[in-house]
Amino acid sequence: MANGWLTDTLILLPLGGAIFIAIAPLPRLAAGLVALVLSLFEIAFWGGALSAFDYNVGASSIQLQDRATWFGELGISYHVGFAGFALWLVGMSVIVMTAAIAYAVWVGRDHARAYFASMLLLTAALVGVFAAQDYLLFYVFWEAMLIPLYVLVGVWGGPGRLRATLMFFIYTMAGSLLMLASIIVLGISHGSFDMTTPSAFDNSTWIFLGFMAAFVVKAPIFPFHGWLPEAYREAPAEVAGVLSGAVSKAAAYGFLYIAVIHFPGPTHDLRTPILVLAAIGLIYGSLLAFRAPDLRGVVAYSSLAQLGLITFGVFATNVAGLNGAVLQMVNHGLISAAMFMLAGLVELRTGTGRFDRLGGMAKGRPALATVLMTLGIIALAVPGSGAFAGEFLILTGVFTSGWGWSVVGAIAIVLAAMYMLRLISAVLHRSKGSAVPEGARDLRLAELGLLVPLVVLLVFLSAWPAAITDHTFGQTDQTPALTRLR
């Protein structure tokens, strides 16, 4: 139970901050700055957790654990801790959330206290999802993510926000409730809801499918992505970034940590259908991204494609695939959050994200051009980029399941180049679009301040992807987490 307080702090700090901001009568700017400072502290605590984590003990060990009885008679406890790979997702999430909060401070969201309280609540819930080691606790955090997201999209979103929230809400709740049914059946029949006890492993296909229902909707995986285009278009830019960057990774984490690791049997049986859906999503998402008429559409559908790719890696169920999936989760989280915020900044200047009215923005706006170009190039997985490392590992991993999967993945990488280059040229190059005012400013210092750190992190991961891949599942298939898979 050493250093369990770090995990608690990572959950409770934003939660307490949310309550404080909701109650304290702060003016708009102060509320935003308090939230920003708190989330910077959150990053610092994450750094502390990372340095306290011992990656040599064994890849699957849960560390930084803490436990308190919640309702003992049914074997439910507040049991938190991190698996090695989960810590990277926590880091990605808190960084993305911080950037999003900074973005919101910059653009000045109205109803600031409610807004920033919701953002901090979302941070707490996200970290909680990655930390929970009890099924019911996991469900609680999972659902708790939805509550702030519902208002964040519904109150501060675009004109179609009511419909978008309704779709998002109905889809995700339908999935979540199936997961709740699975959790009840699993927990009550085993007498414990703890994920780390041996009884937490089960081979019931129905229970597995209940969990999967929640994850495929939240990710989303084709054909459960009906909520995605509207939610990503109507949400405020930074919330869309958080949705596609961080929240979708909670689902990918669910695939990895709950589906694959806790249900090896059904994973093995149902792997092919899952891979087929992921493959369809990958190709279909890429094609839609290529055809999308606006900035956010491209990023939204590329998210669908990338989640398909990550699912490939996870359900390759070998070390290369899993390492690649984790790396790609972090990469995609940073890329898509930055992309959505960039889209938001472009929309602020031009009032639209439609390609037919954009163009020629590179001229006289070097900062914007450089940031978008760098992001785009990393996103399309140019050799040498972090995304390339991740995708390469995923394709290597899934190759062992059949070369056909790798071909699908490779095609998707080509498609990614197509849609990303189209996006870049449509915004930056070509002739000046009708919606681009003459005086549209370049990225300003504060805007660079929130985007550049994300880009720097991506460049860092491009230079040293092993920072993550060496600290997840190790190099061989002998790690305890994976031995049960074979």
Binding site: L74, L136, E143, R161, I170, L177, V185, I188
Partner: protein
């Protein structure tokens, strides 16, 4: 030798009746206040008296809970002194106390003192009812609190629907009581007993499990209690009565009446009819499913907030019947646990509606509640928490309650009932979150707020009551362990003979 000596008089356990007696006493004081004090003092004095009585009854019930680890039948076996009754009395008194806060600024032209007198008397009847251990006590105390509520519903003569609500409640409730009484008579006819445990003994001794009179009587009793719990298909009165009654009364009815009726159902079925378990578990499961279907589907299309909450209370009755239908010890404490946040959420939700109603001077709809979240931040948050709780989402006790209810059903082996409950939950999200959407996401254009100009009156009492309810709602999520222990010890007093 006098006559009094020849008739044996029972020893009376005054302590066992102390919650009900405290409330009755307060009721009597209020009636005196109504005639003795000048009109302007009546409101304040009677509200304080009844509020103090609810606190007193709460304290008595807490002591009673502490001092009655073993259930015993007292006062000539008419009532039982046990933890189940004490815990339910705690819930009733809590709801009652909050309702006094909500009622503080109620706009009654006259009869304010009588209003509080009836509120206390109704709560006293409920506290008494949940300790009933034979059919006579049951019927008497059921009528006792029902008659108080009939009048309370109709007391606001200025409101158009109020009298209609009272009448409708009287007619339908009277019908329900008659059915219950007839069922009791059939059971008595077949078994020759009126005491709950004696009925159970008679059924097993005389092998009356399949006796048509017992079965018919049992089903009529269930129907009669279904009327009080507003479970479908015995719910017809609910929407109109909830809409027409003064809103604080509606909140009290939703919380306390339902708790009383459900706990009584649990007690009666487990202690008097354990041999018929096969029958009533299925019957209650069917009623639960019907309630979930009717309540949820009808709530989807409501535009009036009180009507929506009325249909939601029907579906909540369905949720709370699930653990009773499970018919196991887990179900017993699941029901009791569910009632704690449910009572708090009901009172708080109707309190917010009451506040909005007083502000607007008209019935609250999904349209004119728009913007409440930003104009009255506290009430908006309160309403949101209540909706989360009704929907059974985390961070509220409603989640734990539903989880326990479903666990009990699964423990019984009825996974289909869990699925039905989950589907119903999914449907209910639409209207619960629809209200949140109206409160936060719609612009309040076109509503003439505060037509007289200026700020609406500060409702300190109402806000305190709502705050207390929120503490219970959210607290019951975090402090499950101590609460479930209370519920378990209370449910154990039923003994669970099967």
């Amino acid at each position: 030798m006098t006559l009094a000596d020849s008739i044996p008089t029972p020893t009376i356990d005054w302590f066992a009746m102390s919650p009900a007696l405290t409330l009755l006493g307060a009721s009597g004081i209020c009636l005196l206040v109504a005639v003795l004090l000048p009109a302007r003092a009546r409101r304040i004095v009677s509200a304080w008296v009844v509020g103090a009585a609810f606190v007193g009854a709460f304290v008595f019930a807490a002591f009673l809970y502490d001092k009655s680890p073993h259930p015993e039948e007292v006062i000539a076996n008419e009532v039982v002194r046990d933890r189940l009754g004490a815990l339910t009395a705690l819930i009733i008194c809590g709801a009652g106390l909050a309702s006094v806060g909500v009622s503080w600024r109620i706009r009654l032209r006259a009869h304010v003192a009588e209003y509080y007198a009836l509120l206390a008397a109704a709560a006293g009847g409920m506290c008494f009812l949940v300790t009933a251990t034979n059919l006579i006590t049951l019927f008497l105390s059921l009528e006792w609190f029902s008659i108080c509520l009939y009048v309370l519903c109709a007391i606001d003569v200025d409101v158009e629907g109020s009298l209609e609500a009272g009448l409708k409640y009287l007619v339908v409730g009277g019908f329900g009581s008659a059915v219950l009484l007839f069922g009791s008579a059939l059971v008595y006819g077949a078994t020759g007993e009126v005491g709950f445990s004696q009925i159970a003994q008679a059924i097993s001794a005389k092998d009356l499990v399949h006796d048509p009179f017992v079965v018919a009587g049992l089903s009529m009793i269930i129907a009669g209690l279904g009327f009080k719990a507003s479970a479908a298909p015995f719910h017809m009165w609910t929407p109109d009565v909830y809409e027409g009654a003064p809103t604080p009364v509606t909140g009290f009815m939703a919380a306390a009446t339902k708790a009383t009726a459900l706990v009584l159902t649990l007690r009666l079925l487990t202690t008097a009819f354990p041999a018929e378990k096969q029958l009533w578990t299925i019957a209650l499961a069917v009623i639960a499913c019907t309630s979930l279907a009717v309540g949820n589907l009808a709530a989807l299309v409501q535009r009036n907030v009180k009507r929506m909450l009325a249909y939601s209370s029907i579906s909540q009755a369905g949720f709370m019947l699930i653990p009773i239908a499970a018919g196991n010890a887990l179900g017993g404490r699941a029901l009791l646990f569910y009632l704690i946040p449910y009572g708090a959420m009901s009172v708080a939700a109707f309190a917010v509606v009451a506040a909005r109603e007083r502000e607007l001077g008209t019935a609250v709809t999904f349209d004119n509640i728009a913007g409440l979240g930003w104009e009255r931040p506290f009430l908006g948050v309160a309403l949101w928490v209540c909706m989360l709780g009704f929907a059974g989402l985390p961070l509220t006790g409603g989640f734990v309650g539903k989880f326990y209810a479903f666990s009990a059903a699964y423990d019984r082996g009825w996974i289909w009932l869990v699925i039905v409950g989950l589907v119903a939950t999914a449907v209910s999200l639409y209207y619960y979150f629809g209200l949140v959407r109206a409160v936060y996401m719609r612009s309040p254009a076109g509503i003439g707020l505060a037509p007289a100009g200026g700020q609406p009156p500060r409702e300190l009492a109402l806000q305190t009551a709502v705050f207390g309810c929120l503490v219970v709602t959210v607290g019951s999520f975090f402090f499950v362990e101590p609460l479930i222990k209370l519920c378990r010890m209370a449910a154990e007093s039923l003994g669970y003979p099967f």
